[in-house]
């Protein structure tokens, strides 16, 4: 290994000399990070805060090493620390409401005209992943990945493999990949039986046990194309399949009178035990003189009845060779899942039901700004601030419910610090 490393500067020198002979224009990268280096360590920390709801701190450390022979190893460690309140699915009413915590050990209350939030929500998640990138031939490369994560009520372990085939003088790349994740859900207090009533403390809910499995498989086919000296485009098609326990064990629904809309009781939600989804994804990067514009579009659909469109744009404005500003805009719109119900009508039967606003007709708008500064040609610091607004519509408004904000907007602010070091 040591001999190999000793030869690296020579190899790089030869590569540079060859590039000069070929007449590769000299790029002024004195103050910019290199696309590749022997070691690259990328550290970030995200602070995420929703108004009156969840707060999260998420540090990441990612290290990528060139291990020679065009092979790279990447390791990533992620820590999530989450606290705060989360909407439990019940609707606001004109009087205070009391709920039993998921553990069954206590209660929490929502005031009159307040959206019920479960304040027992907290979690710490540790995730570790690794990737090994290697050539398989002159024009093919493979990336093999493994990942594992654990949090107090959820474990996940997965593998992935992606193959890239270059052709058309390396102007085109065909990608094929697959990933599989085996997850285990261990809900606090056990997984409730769908549609059973939330008990009144100290009664205990009916459960279907714990340690429930969830399998997730994904298949990707992609095409990356160089369109010109300053244009790069990619299209992907992803097919995914999920099966097993896909319900949120902590979410409930209000069961209401079909005429007055007044809440009579609460039941635990139940989602289908399988889901198949497809996504079409397109992205394009264009460089102007020095600025770079990136845009992506995704169309997503699944057999839960959800269809969504997403447009995401970044514009990197080079203030000077050391400093850049990058505004970001993203717009997302989804249709509701077939089984999304803001509340259930007493006496009616349902195959599946969830009042999770993330399954409702919803739009999500994000705006952000990033500032980056090159500290040298081997290190960069950046700070990024973003604001997100989620607006969802109720599936139905019955009687007295019209006096309530059944699905209030959710706003979130994010701040990310990033430091990258290469050597």
């Amino acid at each position: 290994m040591q001999l190999k490393n000793k030869h690296k500067p020579v190899r790089r020198g030869l590569a540079l000399a060859t590039a000069s002979l070929l007449g590769v224009p000299v790029v002024n990268t004195a103050n910019a990070l290199q696309p590749s280096s022997e070691w690259e360590v990328d550290t970030s920390i995200l602070f995420y805060a929703e108004t009156d709801r969840v707060s999260l701190a998420e540090p990441i450390i990612r290290a990528r090493k060139d291990i020679g022979d065009d092979q790279f190893l990447t390791m990533k460690l992620v820590l999530d620390t989450l606290t705060g309140s989360s909407a439990n699915g019940a609707v606001a009413t004109g009087s205070a409401q009391t709920f039993t915590t998921p553990s069954g050990q206590g209660t929490y209350t929502a005031g009159a005209n307040e959206t019920p939030l479960d304040d027992s929500f907290h979690d710490t998640r540790v995730a570790l992943s690794g990737e090994w990138e290697r050539p398989l031939g002159a024009s093919t490369r493979a990336i093999f990945g493994v990942n594992a994560s654990t949090e107090y009520d959820y474990q996940s372990i997965g593998v992935s493999a992606t193959f890239n085939w270059d052709f058309n003088q390396k102007n085109s790349t065909l990608t094929a990949g697959l990933a599989y994740n085996a997850d285990t859900v261990n809900p606090v207090g056990g997984a409730p039986v769908g549609f059973t009533p939330m008990p009144t403390f100290p009664s205990v809910k009916a459960t279907q046990g714990t340690g429930l499995s969830k399998d997730v498989g994904d298949l990707i086919i992609g095409w990356t194309q160089i369109l010109g000296r300053k244009d790069l485009m990619q299209v992907n098609f992803v097919y995914g399949n999920e099966s097993g326990y896909l319900t949120d064990p902590y979410k409930i629904l209000s069961v209401v009178d079909g005429t007055t809309g007044d809440t009579n009781s609460y039941v635990y939600e139940q989602r289908p035990d399988s889901r198949s989804r497809q996504a079409f994804f397109w992205r394009w990067s264009h460089m102007f003189e020095e600025d770079v514009f990136r845009i992506s579009y995704r169309y997503y659909t699944d057999d839960w009845g959800i269809a969504s469109n997403t447009v995401d744009m970044h514009y990197r404005f080079e203030i000077n060779p050391r400093h850049y500003l990058e505004p970001h805009v993203r717009y997302y719109a989804q249709s509701a899942a077939d089984f999304y119900h803001t509340s259930l009508i007493d006496g009616q039967s349902y195959d599946n039901a969830s009042a999770d606003y993330r399954l409702a007709d919803m739009t999500d708008t994000t705006i952000g700004l990033k500032y980056g500064v090159s500290l040298s040609n081997k290190s960069e610091f950046s700070i990024r601030a973003e604001h997100m607004l989620q607006q969802a519509d109720p599936s139905q408004v019955i009687g007295n419910q019209s006096a309530q904000d059944l699905v209030p907007d959710v706003t979130a602010n994010m701040l990310t610090f990033n430091y990258t070091l290469q050597w």
Binding site: L33, Q225, R298
Partner: protein, 74 residues
């Protein structure tokens, strides 16, 4: 439900075929494309955090790639 996806996939393939018939960019013409800011994912941590947030807060997922791990957040 699959129809729009198929239509777009066919359109994408057609576009890529058109792209193939263009003049290829030679290795010595890739000074701009080689820069980090022109990579498809110039800042992997940013991309990872964005995907993690949107996966937690929306009903759609995937598109940019596969792999990356599960999470009880959705």
């Amino acid at each position: 439900m699959m129809k729009p996806i198929f239509s777009m996939a066919i359109l994408a393939i057609a576009l890529s075929q058109t792209a193939c018939s263009m003049q290829p960019v030679q290795p010595w013409e890739r000074d701009s494309l080689a820069q980090r800011k022109m990579q498809l994912v110039p800042y992997p941590n940013d991309a990872f955090l964005d995907e993690h947030i949107y996966f937690s807060k929306e009903a759609s997922r995937g598109g940019a790639g596969v792999g990356g791990g599960g999470c009880g957040c959705n």
